[in-house]
C-alpha cells in the first residue's frame, strides 16, 4: 500500500502550477442537496400508481376514439345518414336483435334503430362528439376567465366591492331565461350555445376562486413575500397559483360533466341545440323509454352521457388529488 499512485515529480511542475486554490463559494454552499423534484412528474407518478386510473383513462380513450374518430372513419354525414331508412317502415324502432337480423350483421345496428330508422349506435357517438366538444369548450372558456377575474377579484378590495354587487345582481337573473333569450335572438347553433353558457357562466367560478384567493392571500408567507417587495403579479403566479392547482383541477373535473348534464337538461326543456347532441337524442326519444322493444333508443344516449360524465369526473378528481403536493410523499 505504500506504493505511490502518482508521482507528482514526474510532471516536472511547481506546486503553484499543479494546484489552484478554490475559494469558499458561499452561493454553492447554500444549495441544498435533495433528490430532484419535478412537480408534474410527481403528479403523474402518483396518478398512475392507482391502477383504477389506468382503466378509466383507457375507457376515456375509447370514448374519445368513438366520438371523434369513428364518425370520421365511417364518413358519418349528419345531413344524410339519419334519414337513410326514412322510407322503409320495416327498419324503424327496431330492437338490437331485430335490427341485426333485418339490416345485416353490422356494428352500426347493435343498438337498434330510432323511430326514423337511423342507427342508434351512430347517432349516439356523433351526438357525444358534439356534447363533449361543447362541454370542453365551455369549461375551457369559463375556467380561464373565471380564474383570471377571480384572482383579481380576490386581490383588490376595490374590485371586490364592485364585483360582489355585480355578482348579486347577475346571479339572480334566471339562467334559463338568459339562455333562451340568447338562443332566440341568435339561433340555436353550437356557437350560440357556447356563448349562452359562457356569457355569465364564468361568474360562479370567479366567485369560488375569489373566496379561495382571499383565504390564501393573507397567509404569513405571502405577507413576508410582500414585505420583501415582491410585485403582486409575481405573488399571484409564484405563490398562490401553485397552491391552487389542485383546487383548479378539481374544479375542472366538476365543470366538464356539469355542462354535459346541463346540455341534456336544456334540450329536455326544449331550449337546446338544433344539432343532434346527446341531450337532443334523449329529448326526441323520451317517449320510447317505456315502449317495450324501443327502450334502447332512449337508454343508450342516457347511458353514454352518464358514462362520459362519470369517466371525466373520476379522471378529474383523481388528477386533482394527485396534483395536491401533500400526496407526493
Amino acid at each position: 500500500m505504500d506504493e505511490k499512485l502518482i508521482d507528482l515529480g514526474e510532471f516536472g511542475l511547481t506546486d503553484d502550477e499543479l494546484f489552484a486554490r478554490v475559494d469558499n463559494d458561499s452561493l454553492e454552499s447554500e444549495r441544498i442537496t435533495a433528490p430532484r423534484y419535478s412537480y408534474w412528474h410527481s403528479v403523474f407518478r402518483v396518478f398512475f400508481k392507482n391502477k383504477l386510473n389506468i382503466v378509466i383513462l383507457s375507457l376515456l380513450a375509447v370514448i374519445i376514439l368513438f366520438s371523434y374518430v369513428y364518425p370520421l372513419i365511417i364518413g358519418y354525414n349528419a345531413e344524410v345518414d339519419p334519414y337513410i331508412n326514412v322510407m322503409n317502415p320495416a327498419a324503424k324502432n327496431l330492437s338490437p336483435m331485430l335490427a341485426l337480423q333485418k339490416l345485416g350483421f353490422e356494428l352500426k345496428w347493435i343498438l337498434g334503430t330510432s323511430n326514423s330508422g337511423a342507427s342508434t349506435f351512430d347517432s349516439v357517438w356523433y351526438g357525444s362528439g358534439i356534447s363533449i366538444s361543447l362541454a370542453l369548450i365551455c369549461a375551457a372558456i369559463n375556467v380561464t376567465v373565471g380564474i383570471l377575474v377571480g384572482a383579481l377579484w380576490g386581490f383588490s378590495r376595490k374590485i371586490d366591492m364592485i364585483m360582489t354587487e355585480v355578482y348579486n345582481i347577475i346571479a339572480n337573473v334566471p339562467y334559463i331565461l338568459l339562455i333562451s333569450v340568447l338562443v332566440l335572438v341568435f339561433s340555436p347553433s353550437f356557437w350560440t350555445m357556447v356563448f349562452a353558457l359562457t356569457v355569465t357562466g364564468w361568474l360562479a367560478i370567479a366567485y369560488f376562486i375569489r373566496t379561495q384567493v382571499i383565504i390564501i392571500r393573507d397567509r404569513e408567507y405571502n405577507l413576508a413575500s410582500r414585505c420583501l417587495g415582491t410585485p403582486i403579479w409575481r405573488i399571484a403566479i409564484k405563490n398562490i397559483l401553485p397552491f391552487m392547482t389542485s383546487i383548479i383541477v378539481t374544479l375542472i373535473a366538476t365543470e366538464i360533466p356539469s355542462y354535459i348534464s346541463y346540455e341534456v337538461f336544456l334540450s329536455y326543456i326544449g331550449m337546446g341545440l338544433k344539432d343532434m347532441s346527446l341531450g337532443k337524442l334523449i329529448e326526441t326519444s323520451q317517449n320510447a323509454m317505456i315502449t317495450p322493444g324501443w327502450e334502447f333508443q332512449f337508454w343508450s344516449p342516457v347511458a353514454i352521457a352518464s358514462i362520459i360524465a362519470v369517466v371525466l369526473y373520476v379522471v378529474g378528481q383523481n388528477l386533482g388529488d394527485a396534483s395536491d403536493p401533500r400526496t407526493h410523499m
Binding site: 348579486n168 346571479a171 339572480n172 334566471p174 331565461l177 338568459l178 348534464s261 337538461f265 352518464s306 360524465a309
Partner: protein, 523 residues
C-alpha cells in the same frame, strides 16, 4: 344587528330592482317582437292596414308598446268634456289620405299629431287601400300613435304597483254608500251563522277581511300582491294568483249569493271584485245572483295551488334529506376510507356526474316497476303519487349535503382543539358529537333557509317527468309562450326568495354560532 340587517335588506331590494330592469330589457327590447305571431292564426289571416293595426294591438296587449288610435284620443277629449258629442261625430271620420282632410277634421288630426309627437310618440297614418270605389279587405285608412314604453317608466309603473292597498276610492264612478262596514254575521253564509267580516263599498274587493273553513281560516283582501299580469299562460290573471290559486275539480258548497239566492256552487263569494257596469251588461245568471257590480269571483277548487304542490313535495324532500344526510355524512367522516365512506363516495360521484335527467328517469322506471304511480293524478289523489317526486328531489340534495358535511368534518379533525380534547381524555364519540359536529354543521345551517324557500320555486325536471301541477315549469312555459308579464313576475319572485334566504341564513348562522357577528364591535 337590526340596523345591519335592514341595510342588507335594502341593498338586496335594490339589486332585485336592477335584476327586474335587466330582465325587462331582455324580454322587451332584445327579443324579436314578431315571434309572438309565429303561431297566431288570426295574424296570418289579416291583410293590408288591418294587419298593421292588429300587430299594434297585440304588441300593446303583450306590453311592448303604448298604442293610441285617433278615435281613442277623441274619446278621451269627449270624456274630459273638451269637445261635445256633435264635434266628436263630425271629426271622428277622417279622409282616405292626409290631403283629403278638410276643416275641423284636419284641425283635430293636426292636434292629435302634435300632442303625441311632443310626448315622444310616433304618429303613423296609413292611407286607404282601395279597389275601385270600395276598400279592400282591411284597407280602411288608419291613424294612430305609438311608442316603445321607456324602460324607466315601465320599471316605475311595475315596482310601484307590486303592493296594492285597497281603499274606498278605488271605484271611480259614483257609487252609493261608499265606505266600510263591519258585520258579525257574514251574508255569504246566509246571515245567521256567526262569522265576522269587514266589507267595503267603493273598494276593489267586497270582502276585506273574512273567515272561512279553509286554512288559515282568516283571510284578507286589503293588501294584494300584483307581480305582473299574464297574457298567454293564464290570460288576464296575475302571476301571484296563478301560483296561489287552487287547481283541480270544482269544490262545491252551499252558498248564499248577495241577492239571497242559495245554490250549490263552487263560486267563492269572498273573492268578489268590482267590475264597472258588469251587473247591467251581465247575463241572466249574474242578474239573479248579484245586486251590485261586485261580480268577478274566483271559483273554489279541490286541489292545492301550484306553489302548494311544489312546496309539499319540496319541503318533505328537504326534511328527508337533512334527516338522512347529516347522520350519513357523519358516519362517512368517522369511517373515513372504510367501506361506508367508499360506498357513500360512489353514490356522491353517481349523483354529481350522471345527468340529473338520467337518474330521474331511472328512478321513474324503477319506481314504476315496483308498482308506484309514476304520474300525478289530481282527480284521485293518493299519498303514493308523492313518493317518487320526493325521492327524486331528495337524492341529489342528500348527496351534496353528505359531500360537504364529510369534507367539513374531516377538515375539523385536524384542528388544534380536537387534539386538545383528545389529549384531555375525551372519547372519540364525544369529540365527534360535541365538538366536531358543532363546528362542521355551521356552514350547513347557513343553507337551511335557502333550501326551505327554494321548495316554493319547484323543480323543473322532476315536475315535468312526474306531471306534477307545480310552479317549477311556469318560467319555461312563460318563455315558450312569450308571456313577458309572467317572466318579469317570476324573476321578481325568484330573486326576492334568494335575497331573503341568504339574509335568513346569515341570521340563523349567527344564532347557532355566537362567534359570528355581522356588526363590527368596538374594542
Amino acid at each position: 344587528m337590526t340596523k345591519y340587517l335592514l341595510g342588507r335588506l335594502l341593498k338586496g331590494l335594490l339589486s332585485i330592482i336592477v335584476v327586474v330592469a335587466i330582465v325587462m330589457v331582455m324580454v322587451y327590447s332584445l327579443l324579436d317582437r314578431t315571434l309572438i305571431f309565429a303561431s297566431d292564426g288570426t295574424y296570418s289571416k289579416q291583410t293590408s292596414n288591418a294587419k298593421e293595426v292588429y300587430k299594434m294591438q297585440k304588441w300593446e296587449e303583450y306590453g311592448y308598446i303604448d298604442y293610441i288610435p285617433y278615435t281613442d284620443y277623441l274619446k278621451t277629449l269627449l270624456s274630459e268634456g273638451n269637445i261635445d258629442q256633435a264635434t266628436y261625430d263630425s271629426v271622428a271620420k277622417f279622409g282616405d289620405k292626409a290631403s283629403d282632410d278638410t276643416g275641423a277634421v284636419k284641425e283635430y288630426v293636426q292636434k292629435f299629431t302634435e300632442h303625441y309627437e311632443s310626448l315622444g310618440y310616433k304618429v303613423e297614418r296609413l292611407a286607404a287601400v282601395k279597389q275601385g270605389n270600395r276598400y279592400r279587405d282591411g284597407g280602411q285608412p288608419r291613424l294612430f300613435a305609438y311608442r316603445d314604453i321607456p324602460i324607466l317608466t315601465r320599471l316605475w309603473d311595475y315596482v310601484s304597483g307590486i303592493i296594492k292597498i285597497d281603499n274606498i276610492h278605488y271605484v271611480k264612478e259614483d257609487i252609493e254608500n261608499r265606505g266600510l262596514s263591519f258585520t258579525l254575521h257574514d251574508p255569504a253564509y246566509g246571515g245567521e251563522k256567526f262569522s265576522p267580516a269587514i266589507m267595503g263599498t267603493g273598494t276593489e274587493y267586497k270582502y276585506l277581511l273574512y273567515f272561512d273553513s279553509n286554512f288559515p281560516f282568516i283571510h284578507q283582501n286589503l293588501i294584494t300582491v300584483r307581480m305582473g299580469t299574464s297574457y298567454s299562460v293564464n290570460r288576464g290573471i296575475d302571476v301571484f294568483d296563478t301560483m296561489t290559486n287552487s287547481q283541480g275539480e270544482f269544490k262545491k258548497s252551499l252558498i248564499t249569493y248577495p241577492s239571497g239566492v242559495k245554490a250549490e256552487s263552487a263560486d267563492n263569494i269572498h273573492t268578489a271584485r268590482y267590475v264597472s257596469g258588469s251587473l247591467a251588461n251581465g247575463d241572466l245568471v249574474t242578474k239573479t245572483n248579484f245586486v251590485d257590480d261586485y261580480t268577478r269571483i274566483t271559483v273554489q277548487k279541490s286541489g292545492m295551488s301550484k306553489i302548494g304542490y311544489s312546496f309539499v313535495i319540496g319541503i318533505i324532500s328537504v326534511i328527508l334529506s337533512y334527516l338522512l344526510a347529516i347522520p350519513l355524512g357523519m358516519l362517512m367522516a368517522k369511517q373515513k376510507d372504510k367501506l361506508i365512506d367508499k360506498l357513500g363516495t360512489i353514490y356522491i360521484v353517481f349523483i354529481i356526474a350522471v345527468p340529473s335527467l338520467a337518474y330521474i328517469f331511472l328512478f321513474k322506471a324503477i319506481g314504476g316497476s315496483a308498482g308506484l304511480p309514476t304520474t300525478f293524478d289530481m282527480q284521485n289523489p293518493t299519498w303514493l303519487m308523492y313518493i317518487l317526486p320526493i325521492i327524486s328531489l331528495a337524492l341529489p340534495s342528500i348527496a351534496s349535503l353528505m359531500k360537504w358535511l364529510r369534507r367539513y368534518m374531516i377538515d375539523q379533525q385536524n384542528a388544534d382543539y380536537v387534539k386538545f380534547a383528545r389529549s384531555g381524555g375525551l372519547t372519540e364519540g364525544e369529540i365527534f358529537k360535541n365538538h366536531i359536529l358543532k363546528n362542521a354543521i355551521i356552514p350547513i345551517v347557513h343553507g337551511i333557509p335557502g333550501s326551505v324557500l327554494s321548495a316554493l320555486v319547484g323543480a323543473i325536471i322532476t315536475e315535468r317527468v312526474y306531471v306534477v301541477p307545480g310552479a317549477g315549469n311556469l318560467l319555461t312555459t312563460a318563455i315558450n309562450q312569450y308571456d313577458n308579464g309572467v317572466i318579469v313576475g317570476l324573476t321578481l319572485f325568484y330573486s326576492l326568495l334568494s335575497v331573503v334566504s341568504i339574509i335568513l341564513g346569515d341570521i340563523l348562522m349567527s344564532l347557532v354560532d355566537p362567534r359570528i357577528s355581522f356588526t363590527t364591535k368596538r374594542r
